[in-house]
Amino acid sequence: MSSTIREKVDICVVGAGHAGCEAALACARLGFNTVIFTISVDSIALMPCNPNIGGSSKGHLVREIDALGGEMGKNIDKTFIQSKMLNVSKGPAVHSLRAQADKQMYSLEMRKVLESTNNLTIKQAEVTDILTVEDMKHIDDMNEIIPYERDMSNQEIAGVRINTGAIYECRAVILCTGTYLNARCLCGESITYTGPNGLMAATSLTSSLLNHGIKTRRFKTGTPARMDGRSLDYSKMEEQFGDEKIVPFSFSTNPDDIQKDQVSCFLTYTNEETHKIIRENLDRSPIYAGIIEGTGPRYCPSIEDKVVKFADKERHQVFLEPEGLFTNEMYVGGMSSSLPEDVQLKMYRTVPGMENCKIVKHAYAIEYDCIDANILNLSLMFKNIKGLFAGGQFNGSSGYEEAAAQGLMAGINASRLLQGKEPVIIDRSEGYIGVLIDDLVTKESREPYRMMTSRAEYRLLLRQDNADLRLRDIGFEIGLITEVQRDELEKKRCMIKSEIQRYKNTSVGANNRIQSFLLEHNSTPLKSGSTLAELLARPELNIVMLTEIDDDRPSLPDDVLKQVEIEIKYEGYIKRQISQVEAFKKMEGKKLPDDIDYDDVGSLRLEARAKLKALRPSSVGQASRISGVSPADISVLLVYLEHIKNGNK
């Protein structure tokens, strides 16, 4: 195929899933002429698996994306059909918002946003090649590449070529190919070479990447079946409702605007009969039969995996979740599978309420090409190709939210590169986005990476409720947050500060009114005077209760009160984490020179030396997180740094 079409733009984004959309929007909003390529315009912001956004730690990511000026939070606020704050009985660090989405609406609304964004063009095409500056010198007038010897270690991006042969020249390319590269779907013995949901796979780009020194690997994931809602008997299941008071994802959404009727989900369970059918048919599962080569995620195991690995569990939960308001399709959460269709039907029909179920879409496993993100910088740019960035599932992650977060950062940093500015790196103490990217880029991963609150060392500081306080200023500095938004935040910050001060300065006497208030709330009476802050610190009391005895409380928004309560209640723990962060920042601040020769550093263990040479971490802090680099190696590095600092190199 050849063509003579050549277009010139600033940035090309390959793929229009959750990563691609955020990347393209960020670039276009920052003023760059951007093209977003998708295999099908009908698959923009497609949710090919679970019909929800958020959840534990993923909800945090959505809030952070919003704080930085991304789109996901706003889009789910427009299209959710049920909303729930998870873990409310636990500490504030692990409260997490999750919303069921109307999948079709989510996709349509995002498409509308893309289409109405200046500087942004949507193009339905398959990108087949990335082109470097050197490649451009070897292209004939029919846009064909004349083979030549490449220096793969030091390249610069110059454009992409699509399946028609047309070339788009640009200064930055962001790869967000999701699960489409050389995808194949497996359902028992049936194998189809398609992307998710029967969409066309992208079969050319992998070899172009390989030709530019980018190695790929094979990951797999899977999705459960979708049922015809009319064939299910919900009376045999437990109904799961949304929250009475709906909290929006976006800091820009007014909560009053989104209170609405919600749809329900339904809970049922597998049983011994289900497990028996699965065990008897394991030999027909492509995973157990060894047909699947990709590595699957342990955190969302197929039902066959659950039955095999947790054999002593008598039952597993099954959540039936609506896919949208314009369809009766129900997602069977908890029962993803790659067993053949006939086994699936038998297995699903053993579950109470699903005895007569009809499958609209059967469950399948999908395999795809992705990279080991260790070949990226923390800015998400390839170490060996200037201007080439990557985000999303292509980087070895999983999940819509993880993808969107990377897409946003890749978009931001591609723009920064074109602006001639330093990249924006969110570190592990600033956001889950920082944890996510640092983990992907630094650590070894053998399966699709999912965000978890336990991965965040400083999670008490990285709460979903304070994402705006943590990141809005950075968003403003980048240019995705308006001055008005920034000023509002500053106002909020002042209110929080002065209210905390008022709490600490307001004395409470041991008078009858206070004592009876305390007794009423099962709290020990005061022996002497105290302050409002000290009362609020008591686990059994909260800021709402204190309204009773706090006569001078100014009228403040709920989100301000929330911050005041958390800051006072958990002050001791928060202080401890802040001091840990200081230690962390110290190590992050010890930068490793770009030209450091690890062969010159004596006494590094062989494994550590090899890892450091391959990864080239930017700081001692990052080096310490590389597996295979021990504390002793870090000591050696520190001593070496001191040594060369003193000019003794």
Binding site: G91, Y299, C300, G334, M452, V601, S603, L606, S627, S630
Partner: protein, 476 residues
């Protein structure tokens, strides 16, 4: 970033070191170990085989016969073992020279090596390198150093049991328990709809109490550990003319076994190590104690109190041929709450003070009979001192602990880490009692897990995530 101070040699790439690796005695065979990048080259220059084959051409893991020759002088007939990196103790190139000639010749071989480019190894440096190169874990490396340093039977026992990994095993067990519980909490936080924490705080409380008991036991065993390794700090007290010098002389004796001669903490006192049965004593010998009968008068009452306070063991000498008086009472006062052995001396004379008299005096001063031991001795006739060593041993070494092969922590760094872990777990208990949500527990549980990891040189890495996925069934 704690615990490990990189040695100076990090500036260079594995300079070659050499040292005599076996005990230096006249038992005939000694081994000189050489390790480093140039180990093979240096020895090759000095080692001549009958066939003329060079050592650098020999295979790893072979033992080769030949002679060490320097400046045309045959120094010794030797066997040379060759271990190429990384298949050696230090993971560097290692050459071991088995000499036959006793102390003199062995030292001469070493001297030749040093002349030809080796540097004399610092104490424990081979182990240090083995550790830095990932050959052995931290607790094993430290045990090796203790083996090198200790001549003591009991220390040896403790050292060997640690080498076989008993510290590792115990700490690992406790860590496994902790990480399992953290994973339980975390998986419930990540997937609240699949995994519940109902009634968990009571369950976790019991588990942490149990772990705390075990850690406390480990921490307590460090006291024994320190004493096994360093010896028992011992002070001899008594009023004038009760026979302190004679007791000293008996203890130190003509054929005394001096283990160490270390400068003490003050200018005017030195410690002398001696071996009493199975244990080491570090006798605080003050400037005056051996010349003058009267330690109190000579060095002042305050100094004496300080010495007694620092001591692990007080040997209180009483003259059984003279009535007890105020001076004895003063000393009893001075030595309150100390492990004490009362030596009722001069049993060769007519005894006017009986064990009952002392018991009476002690109980009047409020000292329970379990806090001290009385041993009738005669320093002059050297009678009763076997009993002293038995009593001292029973005071300091819980023989049950030794015999049942319980883990003894023999290192202060270990103790500090264990104590950190105890502190963290106490914070967890505190959080539970305060009614904090479960996610607050894991902060300190992770702290304990990390502290214990330092002991066995293990990091946290992805332990938690792996534990969550392998032990708890997550949703979707």
């Amino acid at each position: 970033m704690r615990g490990i101070n990189p040695p100076l040699f990090v500036y260079m790439k594995n300079p070659t070191i050499a040292a005599i690796a076996t005990a230096l005695d006249n038992s005939g065979i000694a081994i000189i170990r050489v390790s480093g990048d140039e180990a093979i080259d240096i020895v090759s220059k000095l080692f001549i085989t009958p066939s003329g084959k060079l050592l650098s051409d020999c295979k790893s893991g072979t033992i080769n016969y030949g002679h060490i020759i320097f400046n045309s002088d045959v120094i010794d007939e030797v066997y040379v073992s060759l271990f190429r990196s990384p298949n050696s103790y230090t993971r560097e190139d290692v050459v071991e020279i088995n000499t036959h000639g006793g102390i003199y010749v062995t030292k001469k071989v070493l001297a030749v090596l040093l002349k030809n480019g080796c540097r004399l190894a610092m104490p424990g440096e081979f182990s240090k390198r083995a550790f830095l190169n990932g050959r052995i874990d931290l607790s094993q490396a430290e045990a090796v150093m203790e083996l090198i340093n200790s001549e003591n039977d009991l220390s040896l026992k403790s050292g060997i049991s640690k080498l076989s990994g008993s510290v590792y095993k115990k700490i690992k067990e406790i860590r496994d328990e902790i990480i399992y519980e953290i994973a339980h909490i975390e998986s419930a936080l990540d997937d609240p709809e699949h995994i519940s924490l109902d009634n968990y705080s009571e369950e976790i409380r019991n588990k942490i109490d149990k772990i705390l008991k075990e850690l406390t036991k480990l921490s307590d065993s460090t006291e024994t550990g320190r004493i096994i390794r360093n010896g028992i700090k011992t002070v001899i007290v008594g009023k004038p003319n009760v026979g302190k010098s004679s007791v000293m002389n008996v203890l130190l004796g003509e054929d005394r076994a001096i283990v160490t001669d270390i400068e003490g903490t003050t200018r005017d006192s030195i410690e002398e190590g001696l071996k009493l049965g199975n244990i080491n004593l570090r006798l605080i010998d003050t400037a005056g104690i051996r010349n003058s009968e009267d330690i109190i008068e000579n060095i002042g009452i305050e100094k004496s109190i300080t010495l007694c306070n620092d001591a692990d063991l007080i040997l209180f000498v009483i003259d059984s041929s003279r009535e007890l008086d105020d001076n004895d009472i003063k000393i009893i006062k001075m030595t309150e709450n100390k492990k004490m052995i009362i030596l009722l001396n001069k049993t060769d004379k007519d005894m006017v003070v009986s064990e009952e008299d002392i018991d009476k005096l002690m109980s009047e001063r409020g000292n329970a009979s379990s806090t001290y031991h009385i041993i009738p001795v005669s320093a002059k006739e050297n009678i009763g001192f076997d009993e002293l060593s038995n009593v001292a041993e029973s005071l300091f070494i819980d023989t049950n602990v030794i015999n049942s092969n319980e883990v003894i922590i023999t290192n202060l760094r270990h103790k500090a880490n264990i104590d950190d872990a105890i502190l963290s777990l106490n914070s967890v208990i505190n959080s539970i009692e305060l009614g904090m949500p479960e996610d607050f527990y894991t902060i300190d549980m992770m702290g304990a897990y990390t502290s214990l990891g330092y002991i066995i040189g293990e990091e946290v890495d992805d332990d938690l995530v792996n534990e969550i996925f392998s032990k708890f069934c997550m949703g979707k």
